[in-house]
């Protein structure tokens, strides 16, 4: 008897199994053509066929070779469960099924000598979200009536830029009792409290990035919502840098400095200042790890924008030559505030960490007043590519850390001086307005979001390990790929339309939350209007516990 080849990879070792109904399949090939991971393919199977060739049943059998669709047991081509095969099959003949007995985390490193990588999100611990234990529980009634979300005007803008303590504002009083400003102050932009950020061209397909840019322009110019988007690390097309639309863009610089050669060259030709500069120190999904763009995604146009050859692009885990907070402050000061002649706010993005408050304190006490925003990203944030080990086993949630930073500012009477922007899985249940509102009550000036934007574009991934293949460049939705034939699966106009509609809906929902607490401007720090049904959460965040 033949020995079982137990050490060969089998499909039931993999995280997803293909469920195939041969009797329904017409062998049209749609699923194979659509599967970007090459996880399924045609195969010939020897089948016994029972038949009769007389008028009364006289069963006979014969063997014949039959074509079927089968899952490939190749480690590189494992099924990601994206479900595209099921979407394209006209006959419901194929689908993928989660394999609860997967041995993937063992067989992958055993076969390849490296840990698995993926894009997407934290998957290890999918649990109830902190924000979902919180409600808006202080409702204005009686003597302090609620507002009318439809009828009243609301001021839903948030600052980006360093805010000076009132006593240091350079005001002079004129003879007629007017205050005039007699010196320059740090630039502050009042923008929509939800920033789309910060996903690069490279991580995203050019069509996806273009869709976001279109949506942002439309929201600004047609809808009156001053929404900003952050470029991510990797620069932008020169044409955009030289256009008036640059004012809607926050340019990101991270440790790889990708794209900045082109940005610097474009500076003399810029007709508008960018909305801001965001210096990325860390990222919530993989704190302590640098950026990663696999060679597969470094297509020709990406090489042109970033000025690099086709290779894996790894941003170092830290900014080279930056070993202290003081230096980071200096670095910002020297390179960016000065580069844009102190007209553009410069903010910093860090991963939530046990040390976040120390970092924040150092920046808020910086005597040069040049840090114009503290962007705090949490463990539930997404990424274009990371090692599983980072995604699953490093990181820190952002809710309590945001609260800690705000309360640290309160303790020093410095709240609002460095606007706090929070992210990390916000809106992942689909309702960003609620998450944003609660984060604001806990002290955030605004929030930023990435993953939700991808979901709105049609991303098939989820928090239960589905797809999460952004790193491969084989995104079945055309969102995180640079393959022209895949990118064309995405309709940028439709995506832009989805984004615009979502923002308009969210804006109304924000008002629907502001109205009952009786506020017409954003409730920054109004933890008094939050309640929690979880005692531990209530205590930790210093909001009212209710039961």
């Amino acid at each position: 008897m033949e020995t079982i080849r137990i050490n060969d990879l089998a499909c039931n070792d993999l995280p997803w199994k293909i469920k195939y109904h041969r009797d329904r399949c017409t062998l049209c090939g749609s699923c194979i053509a659509a599967c970007t991971f090459d996880a399924i393919g045609p195969k010939m199977e020897r089948r016994r066929i029972t038949y009769t060739d007389s008028e009364t049943p006289e069963p006979k059998s014969r063997f014949s070779a039959q074509p079927v669709i089968a899952q490939r047991n190749v480690i590189k081509n494992f099924c990601r469960g994206c479900g595209v095969c099921e979407r394209v099959c006209p006959n419901d003949a194929i689908s993928s099924e989660r394999n609860p007995d997967s041995r993937f985390n063992v067989v992958y490193p055993a076969a390849t000598g490296s840990g698995p990588k993926r894009g997407g999100r934290n998957n290890l611990e999918v649990q109830a979200r902190t924000l979902d234990t919180i409600r808006v529980g202080r409702i204005s009634q009686m003597t302090d009536p609620s507002l009318d979300a439809q009828r009243h005007t609301f001021d839903c803008l948030a600052p980006l830029g360093r805010v000076l303590p009132s006593k240091t504002l350079p005001f002079e009083q004129t003879a007629d009792g007017k205050l005039v400003q007699d010196a320059q102050t740090p630039p502050v932009r009042w923008i929509y409290p939800v920033i789309i950020g910060d996903m690069s061209i490279g991580a995203l397909s050019w069509r996806m990035w273009e869709a976001i840019a279109m949506a942002v322009a439309y929201l600004n110019e047609e809808c009156g919502l001053p929404v900003r988007m952050c470029s991510g690390e990797g620069g932008m097309p020169i044409r955009l840098l030289k256009s008036k639309h640059l004012k809607y863009m926050i340019l990101q610089i991270a440790s790889g400095h990708f794209g900045w050669n082109r940005i610097v060259q474009a500076m003399p030709h810029m007709v508008e200042d960018p909305a801001g500069i965001l210096i990325k120190i860390g990222q919530g999904a993989k704190p302590g790890d640098g950026g990663l763009l696999m060679a597969a995604k470094v297509a020709e146009h990406i090489q042109a924008i970033r000025g690099v050859p086709r290779t894996d692009l790894l941003s170092p885990p830290n900014h080279q030559g930056l070993y202290s907070i003081e230096e980071s402050v200096q670095k910002m000061f020297l390179s960016f505030n000065a580069a844009f002649k102190f007209r553009v706010p410069v903010a910093i993005k860090v991963a939530a960490s046990a040390t976040s408050v120390s970092v924040f304190n150092n920046l808020v006490r910086d005597p040069y007043n040049i840090v114009g925003g503290f962007f705090l990203d949490g463990i539930d944030g997404g990424t274009g590519a990371a090692h599983d080990i980072s995604l699953d086993h490093t990181g820190h949630p952002s809710v309590s850390k945001l609260r800690d930073c705000y309360l640290a500012a309160v303790a020093q009477g410095r709240q609002g001086q460095i606007p706090l922007w929070a992210a990390g899985g916000l809106g992942k249940n689909g309702n960003l307005a609620a998450d944003a509102f609660k984060m604001m009550c806990l002290g955030a000036n605004g929030v930023f979001t990435g993953k939700l934007i991808l979901q709105l574009a049609g991303c098939l991934g989820n928090d239960l390990g589905r797809c999460n293949a952004c790193n491969t460049g084989l995104c079945p939705a055309g969102i995180t790929t640079q393959e022209p034939e895949l990118a064309r699966r995405l309709d940028p106009e439709r995506v832009a339309e989805n984004l615009v509609n979502y923002f308009l809906g969210m804006d109304m929902e924000l008002r629907k939350l502001m109205a009952p607490i009786g506020n017409s401007s954003l409730p920054i720090g109004r933890s008094d209007c939050l309640i929690s049904t979880d005692k531990a959460v209530a205590d930790r965040l210093q909001v009212q516990y209710v039961c």
Binding site: S140, T143, D144, P145, L147, H152, T153, D155, L157, P159, V163, L164, P165, S166, K167, L169, F171, Q173, G177, K178, L179, V180, Q181, T185, V188, W190, V410, A411, Q412, G413, Q415, G416, I517, G518, N519, S520, S521, I524, G525, R526, S527, D528
Partner: protein, 368 residues
């Protein structure tokens, strides 16, 4: 509900006018207390305008603590007035054993000090008095400032008036500016300090309404000035913001309105001074108020003003004749005090203005 009122006159007025003003609005408040601040004093205090008067309600023990403390600091008492009380059975009042209004001369080493230095001394002293008497509620030091008297009591305003003989006008106990309010704190605990008007370093404020930004106001103000304490009422925040903007920052009064009720962004961008207004909004975002309010304020030079929240959810009216201006939550109060005035000149302020009455009783309306 809260009702507030204020009187400013060319002539000295007896507080019975304030009682009258508030009495007619009785249906609008809950008869739970009465408080008033008198500024620009006449009668028996007229000769002591330049010296600080302590307004104190206390037990015997509290009185001793206060007098010892003031003595130790070198204050010398030059004048004292104890209101004649009229305790009748059935009066709805939770009176303290002693009500003392004492005027002091400054310690010797302060004789040549600037007004600023003297003011700081008075503030520190009042805060010390407050702290020293706090335990077991031995006493309440409401104000310690030149030319200012404060009275706050828990109970029915009519009964409080009777108890202190305030219904009978006389020439001894008068002022040109009186602000008054008839309600104890109903949002939070009943504490004597929680009754409006609130007073700090020459600034007085009282309000009708709710401060929905109480928590953020309070968190921010707590670190701005040592005198910003208590917060027994969310309306104290209005006083502290007024004091901070006008005294600490030295900004003219119109900017107070810009700080507490900033113009919407769509309006700010049309203004020439948009940069300044945005800078204020940014730096003092935590002093914004965003609930239904009407505020009445008095500045150290006895300028009186009123303004409302941006949604105009609380009423106020300003009525006047030749000699007196009255601000009141309800017009019936003005009718009571100035029945002969031309009511056609009454002002019902809108949500974007401050109505200001200067020392010549000139009434100005400042558009934000």
């Amino acid at each position: 509900m809260c009702r507030i009122g204020a009187l400013k006159s060319r002539h000295y007025m007896h507080p019975s006018k304030a009682l009258l003003l508030m009495q007619s609005q009785q249906k609008g408040h809950d008869n739970s207390g009465f408080a008033m601040v008198m500024q620009d004093l006449g009668g028996i205090f007229e000769d002591y305008k330049h010296l600080p008067t302590l307004s104190l309600a206390c037990t015997d023990e509290g009185l001793k603590i206060a007098e010892d403390l003031l003595h130790a600091k070198g204050f010398r008492r030059v004048h004292q007035w104890v209101p004649e009380i009229n305790p009748q059975p059935g009066l709805d009042i939770e009176a303290m054993p002693n009500y003392v209004f004492e005027t002091f001369d400054y310690p010797k080493e302060y004789q040549d000090a600037s007004d600023e230095e003297k003011g700081e001394l008075l503030t520190d002293t009042r805060l010390e008095l407050r702290a020293a008497m706090e335990e077991d509620e031995k006493g309440f030091a409401y104000s310690f400032w030149p030319d200012v008297i404060t009275l706050k009591e828990i109970g029915d305003p009519r009964a409080i008036g009777t108890y202190f003989n305030l219904w009978e006008p006389n020439e001894d106990f008068t002022a040109k500016v009186i602000t008054a309010q008839c309600r104890q704190n109903t949002n939070y605990a009943i504490v004597r300090y929680a009754a409006h008007p609130f007073f700090l370093q020459g600034y007085t404020a009282l309000a009708n309404g709710e401060n929905t930004f109480y928590q953020k106001n309070k968190e921010f103000q707590s670190s701005l000035h040592r005198g910003y304490i208590g917060f027994e009422s969310d309306s104290q925040c209005f006083l502290y913001s007024l004091h901070y903007v006008h005294k600490e920052l030295g900004w003219p009064l119109p900017y107070y309105k810009h700080v507490i009720t900033p113009l919407p962004f769509e309006d700010v961008v049309k203004r020439e001074d948009q940069e300044q207004l945005k800078a204020m909004r940014q730096s003092l975002a935590h002093l914004e108020i965003n609930g239904p309010n009407t505020i009445i304020g008095v500045l150290p030079d006895n300028t009186m003003f009123t303004c409302c929240d941006a949604k105009k959810l609380r009423p106020v009216v300003v009525g006047r004749d030749e000699d007196t201006v009255v601000i009141s939550s309800e017009v019936c109060g003005v009718n009571e005090v100035l029945p002969e005035r031309n009511w056609e000149t009454d002002i019902y302020p809108n949500e974007r203005e401050i109505v200001v009455i200067d020392d010549n009783l000139e009434v100005q309306r400042w558009k934000q």
